[in-house]
């Protein structure tokens, strides 16, 4: 069983090894568990050598895009005379995702260590951890851990006695999903409205305060210390033999209609069917699974037929027409109405649109309005075409991908569960819940 329960024997606990262990939250406890050895090692290394280890490990961004981390770091031009910045994206707001929250709550020093190593590797002296404002406990834990590390000289102007300056600061957000988008995060950190920026320039050229910046997700950075200690080879081995493109372990947040929701850490390429039934305990009693959104709400919905043959890595999810995303797995059983849930998702995006781009501001709002009208029994046959044409206008035409994210579940929902939408129109009735099978 995933956290908060005892780990399932088939889990591989690298990041989640110390979840639930209160002592691991303290500096002494973290050091006793092997913590800060990686940072000590890193501070004595050339930044390019650290980048090489991370590149070799195959680590990819865990926030959703899956971009190779070492490659991202190599875009930072070392020795250009400008201040460089590292931003840790801890704005975890993607519906279905709650893994970064546990990393920060239980292993705050793993994140600080990862931030400090990454900062050194990209030539930065300052790292900011941008945590969403609603995460009151993680904020508190991270603030205290940073203070403890600073007082002990682990971070600060002479980090671990290396003569190198590495500052790590916590920055509290104030409620905005869009601030998880990297350029919006930087604007927010600068004290502005969290509107995404047009790229280029990319953050590595002109990011936070106009300076070269790297933005990495919490889970990505937390994976760096064990990679440095154990080596890239060790990390690469945790993958399926026929796919070297996805390596390491991945935390999966599982929620919705499932017996044992929680955070599970498995190696890349784990079979999704076994994961859902064996590890997560299958559907609630008497119910059947109906659909899964495997990578956070922004990825296409898949049917159980697709889920049953999926493998849990970046390529495995693409092979069944969806994405790994942030690995926030939302499971729905046969009591759920897909149109109703798609409408609720659309409402989320409409609420969270920053309203800069017309296609997004209008598209998310109208998509919601039409879907909610359909669910209320007032749909028409033309609504399908209208929704599809709105979705097309919302895909690839805006500054950031928020509107694309709204279109993904709508289009996949309409295509894969069309019958349910049609029934709403022909019978003008809401979904009926099937009886529980004993």
């Amino acid at each position: 069983m995933g956290f908060p329960f005892t780990p399932h024997p088939r889990e591989t606990t690298v990041l989640s090894k110390h979840f639930g262990d209160a002592e691991a939250r303290t500096l002494d406890g973290w050091k006793a568990r092997g913590g800060y050895r990686a940072l000590e090692q890193a501070l004595g290394m050339d930044p390019l050598a650290i980048q090489a280890v991370v590149k070799d490990s195959g680590l990819r961004g865990r926030g959703g895009a899956g971009f190779p981390t070492g490659l991202k770091w190599s875009f930072m031009k070392l020795g250009d005379g400008k201040p460089h910045y590292l931003c840790c994206n801890a704005d975890e707001s993607e519906p279905g995702t709650f893994k970064d929250r546990e990393i920060m709550r239980w292993t705050p020093h793993a994140l600080i260590e990862g931030c400090a190593i990454a900062a050194h590797a990209i030539g930065a002296e300052t790292a900011y951890i941008y945590i969403r404002g609603e995460f009151t406990e993680p904020l508190d834990v991270m603030e205290r851990a940073c203070e403890e590390a600073r007082r002990a000289g682990v971070i600060g102007k002479n980090a671990m006695g290396s003569g190198k300056r590495v500052d790590v600061w916590v920055h509290k957000g104030a409620g905005a999903y869009i601030c998880g988008e990297e350029t919006a995060l930087m604007n927010s950190l600068e004290g502005k409205r969290g509107n995404p920026r047009i790229k280029p320039p990319f953050p590595a050229a002109a990011g936070l305060f106009g300076m070269p910046t790297t933005i990495n997700n919490v889970e990505t950075l937390a994976a760096v210390p064990p990679i440095l200690v154990n080596g890239g080879e060790w990390y690469k081995k945790m993958s399926r033999p026929d796919n070297p493109k996805s390596t390491g372990t991945k935390l999966w947040s599982v929620c919705g209609n499932v017996m044992r929701p929680g955070n599970y850490e498995v190696e890349m390429g784990f079979p999704f069917k076994e994961f859902l039934y064996d590890l997560c305990g299958g559907p609630p009693k008497g119910r059947k699974f109906k659909a899964v959104i495997p990578g956070g709400s922004s990825v296409p919905i898949i049917t159980m037929e697709e889920a049953d043959r999926a493998l849990m890595d970046y390529e495995g999810m693409v092979a069944v027409g969806t994405m790994l995303g942030s690995a926030g797995c939302i499971v729905m059983d046969d009591a759920q109405s897909i149109p109703r849930q798609v409408a609720r998702l659309a409402r989320f995006y409409a609420h969270e649109s920053c309203a800069q781009c017309t296609q997004c501001r209008e598209g998310t709002a109208w998509t919601t309005k039409i879907l909610e009208r359909m669910v209320a029994g007032d749909g028409t046959a033309e609504d399908f075409d209208t929704l599809m044409s709105l979705a097309e206008d919302m895909t690839g035409k805006t500054i950031c991908v928020l509107s694309d994210s709204c279109a993904a579940p709508v289009v996949s929902g309409l295509q894969k569960f069309r019958g349910e939408f049609e029934a709403l129109i022909t019978r003008r009735t809401v979904h009926t819940v099937p009886a529980i099978v004993a």
Binding site: D167, G256, N257
Partner: protein
């Protein structure tokens, strides 16, 4: 976040009758609070970057961010009141009006929705006496709103009461929970 007119609207927070008092404004950034802000400024290369933390200090001290407080924050950081308002209105967590003594936020986004969050909302509206979303109860004790994804989806339904984060709330647990927030 709040933005211009949209087809879906959004949960509006009502203005309490005592929103604007005739008493003179007492500055927030004096003494210890000013010292805390000054210490924060050293973390950033610009003063503007301290705006979100400064607004949090205002809300901590006053319970909401009034137009006067926006002006004061702007003055302290070298920004116009209009600029500060532009930022305040972007983010959902800054209260632009006074709210009840206990501010209740119930997550109703999809993962919680499939687990019955709507009934949790109904229970809060009933037991707080608020009746409606965004309306402060007659005794001034509670304001209940729906909130988008709180990021604790495996523990449906998460609820925030002020800065307390409570997991796995069910309609049955609501009356007992509220007893802690009198």
């Amino acid at each position: 976040m709040s933005h211009g007119p949209s087809a879906t609207g959004g949960s509006a927070i009502s203005t309490a009758p005592n929103g604007h008092s005739s008493e003179p404004y007492v500055p927030v950034f004096t003494g210890e609070t000013k010292a805390r802000l000054d210490a924060l400024l050293e973390r950033y290369p610009t003063k503007m970057a301290a705006l979100l933390p400064a607004l949090w200090m205002v809300q901590e001290a006053r319970g909401w961010v009034s137009p006067e407080a926006m002006a004061e924050t702007g003055q302290v950081l070298g920004l116009t009141a209009a600029y500060v308002k532009g930022v305040v209105t972007f983010y959902t967590m800054y209260h632009q009006h006074p709210v009840g003594k206990h501010f209740v936020q119930v997550c109703t986004t999809t993962p919680c929705h499939v687990c019955g969050a709507e009934d949790v909302v109904k229970a809060f509206l009933k037991h707080t006496g608020c009746g409606e979303l965004g309306v402060t109860s007659a005794d001034g004790r509670y304001t209940v709103i729906e909130v988008e994804c709180l990021g604790a989806c495996g523990f449906a339904t998460p609820v925030m009461v002020n800065s307390d984060f409570i997991e796995s709330v069910t309609p049955e647990k609501v009356p007992e929970l509220l007893k802690q927030y009198g």
